[in-house]
């Protein structure tokens, strides 16, 4: 008799824990061969609410950590991901229908993305900040500061890399996040949550939801506690609606091209200007 498989229950990642959806719902995810793969949780608006509460309370601590420390932690995520490669390969090839070689390339690029953004953490304020010339006995500095809670709609494909290249810059800037995984390709994002849970990133800084994008985006748009949204995984029409409801609290809403760029970090940061008298 063959051994019965022990399959993983794919759950949400909220506040450092892996709960099921409060609604009790799940949905079916199929592989590229139309065969059943998993029943991940189908997050409700209340899961979103809980995730935002967790993100909000974790944000000050993450933004308050030194930029160098944030960089170290992002690098640590890369290290842990490396060790989990095999599991990612399995999930990506089953979902996207690519060979394990192609899947491996995607994972390597995702790991490199973490390393690339980890390097930016402690250099950003030198590049984007400035000492401004003023006519008076003052120093005048401008430095970038984190925005707050940023929601991310991850791209569908490439499933893992799509999540990482939206997530890493937002974290590098000191924001906390709620990442809404791609509806059709959610499994690598949840496994990414397991990587994050063991990589020194404080609980609540990253929260990952799986479910129906169409159900969640209006609530993300109108949530007054969410300060920014990366709409990579939304359609143009959905983005437009989100911009309408998001105007209420002046949400920063952005869509980027696929390349890694420090502008992705700065888009979710504020510029703070400080006046300081020149001492005698």
């Amino acid at each position: 008799m063959s051994r019965i498989d022990i399959n993983k229950t794919y759950k949400l990642f909220i506040g450092g824990a892996f709960p099921r959806s409060e609604s009790g719902r799940v949905y079916e995810v199929k592989g590229s061969d139309k065969k059943f793969l998993a029943n991940p949780a189908l997050a409700s608006r209340k899961d979103l609410r809980d995730a935002v509460v967790a993100a909000k309370s974790a944000q000050a601590g993450w933004a308050g950590a030194t930029a160098f420390n944030r960089g170290q932690i992002l690098y640590r995520i890369a290290e842990i991901m490396q060790g989990r490669s095999e599991q990612f390969v399995e999930e990506i090839s089953a979902l996207e229908g690519v060979t394990s070689k192609v899947a491996k390339l995607q994972i390597e690029e995702a790991i490199d993305t973490w390393v690339w953004y980890s390097g930016w953490c402690d250099k950003l304020s030198s590049i984007a900040g400035s000492q401004n010339q003023v006519s008076g006995p003052f120093y005048n500095f401008t430095t970038p500061e984190s925005l707050g809670v940023v929601a991310i709609f991850a791209e569908s494909k490439p499933s893992l890399l799509g999540a990482v290249r939206t997530l890493a810059p937002v974290l590098a800037g000191g924001n906390s996040t709620v990442l809404i995984a791609s509806e059709a390709y959610p499994l690598p994002a949840i496994t990414l949550g397991e990587v994050l849970a063991t990589s020194d990133i404080p609980a609540g800084v990253v929260n990952i939801l799986t479910g129906k994008t169409s159900e969640l985006y209006p609530w993300v748009g109108s949530h007054m506690e969410i300060d920014g949204v990366d709409v990579a995984g939304l359609s143009k029409k959905q983005e437009e609606e989100l911009r309408l409801v998001g105007a209420d609290n002046l949400k920063r809403i952005a869509r980027f091209s696929a390349i890694n760029h420090p502008e992705r970090i700065l888009s979710f940061m504020e510029q703070k200007t400080i006046w300081h008298p020149i001492g005698i």
Partner: protein
């Protein structure tokens, strides 16, 4: 009268009280906490909870400025929404009573009572003379309610009559000028049996309210403790026809927590206790969460803490 005021009769009454079924109390409180309150009932519960809040600041760092801004918040919790009711009371240390009373009177909060924590709050470790003076001082400053702490050390070492007499003395000073709330500090009483005993002791000695905690000791107002106290006031009402209020304080931070408390009240003491005259919630952070939930119901989208005042 159910006791004649002597030590013997008090001891007999308290020792005859039936013990609390610990598992049963916890199960019942747990079961009531699962009840889901939605839409119009939730809106009603939020407004009721706001009107029951004893808006509290009991910090060493309190300043007149902070107390004044708290008063403004008590009268008009959400300046953008005039339909939000005022809170039940302001709760401060003795030296802030006069400032709070003057400020409330000046900004249209004449009907909001000021509660003072007296009798060497929070530990209660002072001589009776000092406690009496402390109480008199608060009343002279204009306190409408006195939140006194019992001597837990005396209670736990069995000197029940001493605790009883102390409450009586303070009650006498309060007279008809101030309501007396007696803080049992259930976290230090340890067992539910002690909570029941202390509740009856306080009611027999003349408390108008029994209050769970100082807010300085954890655990504070846990659901089973509040259940035991609500049962005590209900049974005391059956025995004597007198309605005593209950005030949970400490650890109630979210709207969900507050609504759970209201469910406990309704299912234990009954609808007649669902009024700020007989049920108060001692809190500071809770009010903001109630306001945010109220905004959510009104606007249809989730609110942000950036839109409510910090203190």
């Amino acid at each position: 009268m159910i006791i004649d005021g002597s030590e013997t009769s008090l001891r007999k009454f308290l020792s005859d009280l039936p013990p609390v079924d610990q598992v049963g109390a916890e199960a019942r409180a747990g079961m009531l906490a699962t009840r889901s309150i939605k839409t119009t009932s939730k809106a009603w519960a939020i407004d009721m909870a706001i009107s029951m809040v004893d808006l509290t600041t009991l910090e060493g760092a309190d300043t007149p400025g902070k107390v004044k801004s708290l008063c403004a918040k008590a009268v008009r919790p959400d300046p953008n929404d005039l339909t939000v009711p005022s809170v039940g009371a302001i709760c401060v240390y003795n030296d802030m009573v006069k400032i709070a009373r003057t400020e409330l009177d000046a900004i249209g909060g004449e009907s909001i009572p000021v509660a003072a924590v007296a009798t060497a709050f929070p530990s209660g470790r002072a001589s009776l003379a000092v406690k009496k003076l402390d109480t008199q001082d608060a009343i002279d400053a204009g306190a409408n309610e006195i939140d006194m702490v019992i001597d837990r050390g005396a209670f736990l070492s069995g000197q029940l009559y001493q605790v009883f007499e102390e409450i009586q003395v303070i009650k006498q000073i309060c007279g008809d000028k101030a309501h007396l709330k007696v803080i049992l500090d259930t976290g230090e009483l340890v067992t539910y049996d002690n909570v029941r005993k202390a509740s009856y002791l306080a009611m027999l000695a003349g408390a108008d309210f029994i209050k769970t905690s100082t807010g300085k000791v954890a655990p504070a107002a846990t659901a089973p403790v509040v259940l035991v106290m609500l049962e005590a006031v209900r049974d005391y009402f059956t025995l004597t026809g007198k309605k005593i209020g209950v005030k949970p304080a400490g650890g109630i931070r979210t709207t969900k927590d507050a609504i759970k408390q209201l469910v406990l009240v309704k299912e234990t003491a009954g609808d007649q206790w669902l009024t700020p005259d007989l049920f108060r919630i001692g809190a500071s952070a809770l009010l903001n969460d109630l306001l945010m939930q109220r905004m959510k119901l009104r606007t249809g989208h989730y609110a942000s803490a950036n839109y409510v005042t910090v203190d």
